[in-house]
Every structure is written in structure tokens, then in C-alpha cells.
């Protein structure tokens, strides 16, 4: 749907201020960035993390008393999908040296490295292999690869500043020092990154970076990485077996307390399968599809916190989940693409952010939490300068046509082919018309506790990617998630393979931890029919449900 006349009128205001803004940008005059104090103030007043009543303490488990989003607490205080006394753990359907749960960037990187380290790998995933948030990452991947102006030291500083100085230092150290090798590895796997003719990789800024170190492949960086990793996994059929549409619903421990496999659920035949493995990697990603505080989300269909739930039940602690990342620029128009990620690379390439008057109100490259808070403030009744959409929402303008003037005609189409074609389908030419955006639920900043070798306190259980917490502190910067999944995916693959190779025999398989968890729920007086992990969101309309007379939903699944 093209912009209706009301919005077209408002776009004229953006066009009026554009020439001056382009001139200022060319002259290096930016809208003033906020000081650390100003950042703190705006976050406390306008960021959704600070809204009272949206979080509550978890009443059971290893992080009992820790307050996180209500939606997540509800899952953590739910029961298992399997009755631990009703499943025969001796009936082993599949065995592997390393079981990897999750088919995104972390899981596939881990599979390649584990296979290289000489073990048999089983990768199970809820949807198709590669259907994951990695695929949707657009803007780029950070790494300090240009030592004439950048260094891992500065990358480190950017990361912890963005994360409110609370990140786990050892994890950040690993991330920034592994980063150049991650890029080299991806290039060696055949990823096509944008390069100059002399081989110099092209890089851009992201929010909160002091140097341009965002490497990219058009505006489909994540897809380029994901499809390449997946192809490489499939080049190793003797070492890596892939099982699709089979999420894990519970981890299996052995009698000594080490991790020894998982219970998988075949979404189509509705069978539960016992997998026995010497090492297990949880790489299940994040929780955008919980729609925290009813926000729209940029996330993949499968992002339902499954790994958090099963890892927590097995005894892993949680960290940094008290903050949720909202991506400043989720699309709010047209309605069909609502919530969709509009990459930060647009702002990295120079596009301003504007209110209904066509005025700038924030530096476009603040860290994501600060930028989002500024958008929410502008659209709030306190300021009242949001742009109203036809569906009664609010947004602000992202002035993509500026990029044509800054980088040359045709550059929007060239740099952002994915978004250009997508909006064109709806009758909007983003090289001529700005986009309407508002913060959208984007990233789970925290997660399960792990260390720089991807180990956890449970022997044989490893963590990689968004499901883990600590490396990004309280707020992740752009381009560090793709880096995170490949960096820690590779490490997890190697660590798990080494562990599997020297692990002697597994003890008897056990779901006793699930039994205990159920007892703990009972002990604190939680009586519930709710089950977790959620596995798939439920978008069936209420009207249809009314007619599903003989259906029974267990959690969100029919």
C-alpha cells in the first residue's frame, strides 16, 4: 500500500528540511550526541525496561527472586511438556557424540567445528535448518580489521559502553579478539562481503561505534552468512546429521549430573524421541516471539525462548534478562510489514531520523536502547511530535532518500536491495520516500550463564549465541550478534567435541531434574496447566478457535 495523501503531505515537511540536513551532514555537522548522564535519564523515563509492572521475580529455580519480563516468568513457571515418569529413557532413538540444539548461525558454526574436530554431530532444529534470526540480520558484522584506524581495544570499549559497563569482561575479550578470524573464516567459506577492487573490505558505522567496522554483504549480511554455513553443513553428510522440525523439549542429564542428551519432539508426527549424546550445545536463540509488553517484533517465527526454559530447568542460572532490546527502527507502515526490521545500516549510511515536523530530535547513531527511548519520547504525549499512521499507531521518519544525495544516485537500491524490493512491492520507493518506523522487540540481551569456552556449570552442556547472556551486558550493539553467533558457535563446537572425545561412558539417563522442578513449583504453591517450552507462537484468531470444537491446545500447540 503506497503512502495515503495525509502521509504524503507530511513527507513534504521532510523534503523541505532535507537539503539543509544533507549540507550539514556533508560538512560533518551532526545532531549532538547525548552524554552518559543524558542517556541514563532518557532510558529511565522512556525505555520500556523501566515501566513498572512489566516484570516480576521468578519463584523457582536457580535464579529464584530475579525479576524478568512477565511473559518469560510465565514460561519459567510452567511445567514440562513431558511427564518424567511417563517416558522410557532406555528407548534411545538416536545417539551422537555432540548434539546441537538449534539451526541458526551458532548451531551451524558449532556443527562445522565439531565435525572438523572428529566427532559425530546431530543437529536438531525446530523449523528448517537455517530458519533463524541469523538469516534476518541485515546490517552487518563487527570486527576490528583495519588496524590503521581501529583495534580490538576500541571494539571492546564500544561494546561495554553500549552494555552499560556491565558486560562479562572475559566474554567481551574473546568476542573482540576472535572477530578478525571470524571474518576470515567466513570469507574462506565463500561468503561474499562488499569489498573494494584492492580487496579492502567495506565498513560502516553502527549505533555506538567509534570506528566504521561493520562489514556487510549488501543488506542481507545474515542471510549470506546463514545460507553459506548451511551449505557447508550439508557438505559434511558423513559427520553431520540434520534433523528438522524436531525441537528439544527437555535436556537429559545422567545420574552423575552431566548432560547426556535431550528429548526431542517431532512436530509433525507428535512423537517424543530420546537422543543420547556425550555433549550437548544449546544454540536455540532468543525470545522475540513472546511479544514482551505486546510489542511487535523483528524476530523469526521460532524465537520462543525454548533454550532458556530447558536450560533453566536443568539448573543453569540466568543473567542480564532484566533488559530487553528494542530495535529503534521496526517498520510501522504499511501494516503488512509491521514490526519488520529496517536495518541500522540506513542510519550508518547517513539517514536522519525526523519527527512529524521533519525536524531532527536525536543523533541517529546512539546505542539502540537510547535511540529507541528517544523515539518513544518523541511519540509520547510529553512531546507529541510522532507521525500518526493510518492504523492509529505512531512512528518517526527514517530519511532514506538522503542516502542518494550522500552516496550518489542509485545507492539505496545498491546498498539495500532487500528492503528496496520489499517496499517496492507495496508501492513505496525508499530511494525517494522516507520510511515510517517505531521501536520493535528485537533481542534478548541476556540469557543462560556460560563462560568463554562456552561451558556451563553442568558438565557436557555448552551454550552459544543469543540464548546465552553476559557478552552484551545490558544492551547489544549492532553487528555484534552475527559476530557472537559465529564466534561462540565455533568455540562451542570445538569445546563440545573435545569434551565428547574424552568423556568416558555416560551414566544412566535421567529426567530427575524435571521431577524436582515440578516439585519445587508445587512447593511454592504454583498450580498450573501451562507448559513450556512454547515451541510455536499461536496466531490463530479467536473466531477460528471458537469453531475448533474438538481441539485441545497444550500451551500454544494444538
Amino acid at each position: 500500500m503506497p503512502y495515503p495523501p495525509v502521509l504524503q503531505e507530511l513527507i513534504k515537511r521532510v523534503e523541505r528540511t532535507r537539503p539543509t540536513r544533507i549540507q550539514r551532514k556533508k560538512a560533518g555537522q551532526e545532531f549532538p550526541a547525548m552524554s552518559l548522564e543524558e542517556r541514563e535519564k532518557i532510558l529511565e523515563k522512556y525505555h520500556p525496561d523501566f515501566i513498572k509492572g512489566t516484570k516480576r521475580p521468578i519463584r523457582v529455580g536457580p535464579s529464584k527472586g530475579y525479576s524478568v519480563s512477565n511473559e518469560l516468568v510465565s514460561l519459567l513457571e510452567a511445567k514440562s511438556r513431558v511427564n518424567p515418569d511417563g517416558i522410557d529413557l532406555e528407548d534411545v532413538a538416536l545417539t551422537a557424540d555432540v548434539l546441537i540444539i538449534g539451526g541458526g548461525g551458532a548451531g551451524n558454526s558449532a556443527a562445522i567445528l565439531a565435525a572438523q574436530n572428529g566427532v559425530q554431530v546431530l543437529l536438531c532444529t525446530k523449523l528448517r535448518n537455517g530458519d533463524a534470526n541469523t538469516m534476518m540480520a541485515e546490517g552487518g558484522i563487527q570486527a576490528a580489521t583495519k588496524l590503521d584506524k581501529d583495534s580490538p581495544y576500541l571494539h571492546y570499549l564500544d561494546i561495554i559502553g553500549g552494555g552499560h559497563f556491565k558486560n562479562v569482561p572475559q566474554l567481551v575479550h574473546t568476542l573482540v579478539t576472535e572477530a578478525p578470524d571470524v571474518i576470515q573464516w567466513l570469507l574462506d567459506l565463500g561468503c561474499i562481503f562488499s569489498k573494494s577492487l584492492d580487496g579492502r573490505l567495506q565498513t560502516l558505522h553502527g549505533g555506538g561505534t567509534c570506528r566504521k567496522r561493520m562489514h556487510y554483504a549488501g543488506d542481507i549480511t545474515g542471510a549470506e552468512i546463514m545460507r553459506t554455513l548451511r551449505d557447508e553443513v550439508r557438505n559434511n553428510p558423513d559427520r553431520i546429521k540434520v534433523l528438522e522440525f524436531s525441537p528439544a523439549v527437555e535436556l537429559i542429564l545422567d545420574e552423575e549430573g552431566g548432560c547426556a542428551g535431550a528429548v526431542l519432539y517431532n512436530l509433525e508426527t507428535e512423537e517424543y524421541l530420546v537422543v543420547k549424546a556425550k555433549a550437548v550445545i544449546v544454540a536455540t536463540g532468543g525470545y522475540g516471539r513472546l511479544h514482551i509488553q505486546d510489542f511487535m517484533t523483528t524476530n523469526h517465527y521460532g524465537a520462543t525462548a525454548d533454550g532458556l526454559v530447558i536450560g533453566y530447568r536443568a539448573g543453569l542460572e540466568l543473567c542480564f534478562l532484566h533488559t530487553v532490546q528494542f530495535h529503534p527502527t521496526g517498520a510501522v507502515f504499511p501494516e503488512q510489514v509491521e514490526g519488520l526490521l529496517i536495518t541500522e545500516k540506513f542510519r550508518g549510511a547517513g539517514a536522519n531520523v525526523l519527527n512529524v515536523e521533519g525536524e531532527q530530535f536525536v543523533y541517529e547513531k546512539e546505542p539502540r536502547d537510547v535511540e529507541s527511548a528517544a523515539f518513544i519520547r518523541e511519540c509520547s504525549t510529553d512531546v507529541g511530535k510522532g507521525v500518526p499512521t493510518p492504523t492509529g499507531k505512531m512512528g518517526v521518519w527514517l530519511d532514506s532518500p538522503m542516502i542518494e544525495a550522500l552516496l550518489g544516485p542509485g545507492s539505496v537500491r545498491k546498498q539495500f536491495p532487500g528492503k528496496h524490493i520489499l517496499f517496492r512491492r507495496h508501492g513505496i520507493d525508499i530511494s525517494k520516500e522516507p520510511m515510517l518506523v517505531y521501536p520493535s522487540l528485537h533481542y534478548q540481551n541476556g540469557g543462560l550463564v556460560y563462560n568463554a569456552n562456552c561451558e556451563t556449570k553442568i558438565p557436557g552442556l555448552f551454550i552459544a549465541g543469543e540464548v546465552g547472556g553476559g557478552v552484551h551486558g545490558e544492551n547489544r550493539l549492532m553487528g555484534n550478534s552475527l559476530l557472537d553467533v559465529v564466534c561462540f558457535g565455533r568455540i562451542a563446537g570445538k569445546s563440545a567435541a573435545e569434551y565428547a572425545r574424552q568423556r568416558p561412558r555416560l551414566g544412566r539417563l535421567s529426567l530427575h531434574h524435571v521431577r524436582q522442578y515440578h516439585k519445587e513449583l508445587e512447593d511454592v504453591g504454583i498450580k498450573t496447566d501451562a507448559v513450556a517450552p512454547m515451541l510455536l507462537p499461536d496466531y490463530v484468531s479467536a473466531e477460528s478457535k471458537k469453531r475448533q470444537l474438538t481441539s485441545r491446545y497444550l500451551g500454544t500447540l494444538r
Binding site: 567459506l189 553459506t228 532487500g418 496466531y539 484468531s541
Partner: protein, 230 residues
């Protein structure tokens, strides 16, 4: 056939199916037009033409007939990227069926990403791996081209092979990257990083605020004033 659903007019095919009571297992992925999980063919009443689209991107139309093709059992060649010769012959040896193409152009007409599929396939036939890689770059690997191809080609698998060969062997090496990798390995940044890791928040803030920001419009020749952080 015959099942009729009423849904709000502005929904995508994907949202419309959910609205109507389907819980999608196959055929739903990123919901944003990039993962290729929801390839869909449809037809309008009164028309013989088969149309295609991604279910998450295509708006429903009244009376359309829909079938999702969420998976196609396509062949994928196994190869070692490190040792393959970066030539068209390699591609032809791994996918000999490319010679069976008879140029009907159905693949191009079936591409929801508006890629000229037949053109990159003919570039492959001519041995131009680079061109095939460039032309296929936007491919989401939904498999609609393959599903519709009467010559049983696996266009999207051929395309990723070409892209990987091109990315690995036919683009210039990045010497600055190789330099960075070896600098890290020699431990050049360890001392300063260890200092940061043990610094308190006050000191970290001091370093953070003092960072010099590379200007937006700076080109590759830009150098920071302070060299001690490099």
C-alpha cells in the same frame, strides 16, 4: 478445493492462513521475506496462469487458490570448497544436468525475488561463475524455480555453489584482514585489553568518553588523531 475462508483484506497469505485457523509448522520462517521457507503458488479463478510469491509478502486476493511449497526434495552436490577449481567446469561437473536446460524461462517467471534465474543459469553454462554469483545474490533459496523446472534443474543450489566459489576464490584477498588476524595471534592487544578488563567503571567511562569518533563522511584514508589505542 472448496474450502473458503473469510479474512481481512489487507493480510498477507501467511497471516490470513493463521487467521483462518492454521498453525503453521512448515512453510513459515522469518516472516520478513528473506528465509525462503514460505514459497507459495496460487491461481486466480478464471485464469490458467500459475503465480508465485512468498506467503509472508503476498497480500491475499479474493478467491485465490493457494498451495504452499515449503520444501522441495532437490539434489545438492557435495564438494570441498578449498580444493575445487574455481571454474565453470567445476559447476558443470557437480551439476551435469545444467546442460539439459531448454530455455523455457519458467524459472525466471517463478522467482519471487525477481531474479533473472535463466540468465544466471546460462552464465553458468558459459562458465561465467562471477556473473552467476552476482545475478543470484538476492536468492532466498525458496526452491520455487526448481519446483517448476521441467528440466529438473536445481537452480538455487547451482547459484550458491557459484557464489561460494566466487567469494572464496575469485574476489581479491583482504590483506588488511590477514594483518589483523596475525596481530591478534601475536598478542599485540593483550596488555591493553587486560587493563580494560580489570578497570573499574569510573575508569572505563573515562576511556569511553574520550574515544574519537570517525566522521560519517570520512573515506578510507581517515586516520585518528590518537594512535595509542591502535
Amino acid at each position: 478445493m472448496g474450502k473458503k475462508y473469510e479474512v481481512p483484506a489487507e493480510l498477507t497469505i501467511q497471516k490470513a492462513m493463521e487467521h483462518a485457523g492454521y498453525q503453521l509448522i512448515r512453510g513459515c520462517g522469518c516472516r520478513g521475506g528473506i528465509c525462503g521457507a514460505c514459497g507459495t503458488v496460487y491461481r486466480q479463478p478464471g485464469s490458467y496462469r500459475i503465480q508465485v510469491g512468498l506467503a509472508c509478502q503476498t497480500i491475499v486476493q479474493a478467491d485465490m487458490y493457494i498451495a504452499q511449497i515449503p520444501f522441495f526434495p532437490a539434489n545438492k552436490a557435495i564438494y570441498d570448497l578449498n580444493t575445487v577449481e574455481p571454474t565453470g567446469e567445476t559447476v558443470a561437473a557437480l551439476y551435469p544436468e545444467i546442460f539439459k536446460c531448454f530455455g523455457c524461462n519458467t524459472c525466471t517467471k517463478s522467482c519471487p525475488m525477481d531474479i533473472d534465474v535463466m540468465e544466471y543459469m546460462s552464465q553458468t553454462l558459459r562458465g561465467n561463475v562471477r556473473k552467476a554469483a552476482e545475478l543470484s545474490f538476492d536468492c532466498v533459496m525458496c526452491g520455487l524455480c526448481t519446483a517448476r523446472c521441467p528440466a529438473e534443474q536445481v537452480q538455487y543450489q547451482v547459484a550458491i555453489l557459484c557464489r561460494r566459489i566466487y567469494g572464496r576464490h575469485l574476489t581479491p584477498r583482504s590483506s588488511h584482514l590477514e594483518e589483523a588476524v596475525s596481530a591478534v595471534q601475536t598478542g599485540r592487544f593483550e596488555k591493553k585489553l587486560r587493563e580494560l578488563m580489570s578497570a573499574d567503571v569510573k575508569e572505563l567511562k573515562k576511556h569511553y568518553v574520550a574515544r574519537e569518533t570517525e566522521p560519517d563522511m570520512a573515506d578510507e584514508s581517515w586516520k585518528p588523531k590518537a594512535r595509542e589505542d591502535l
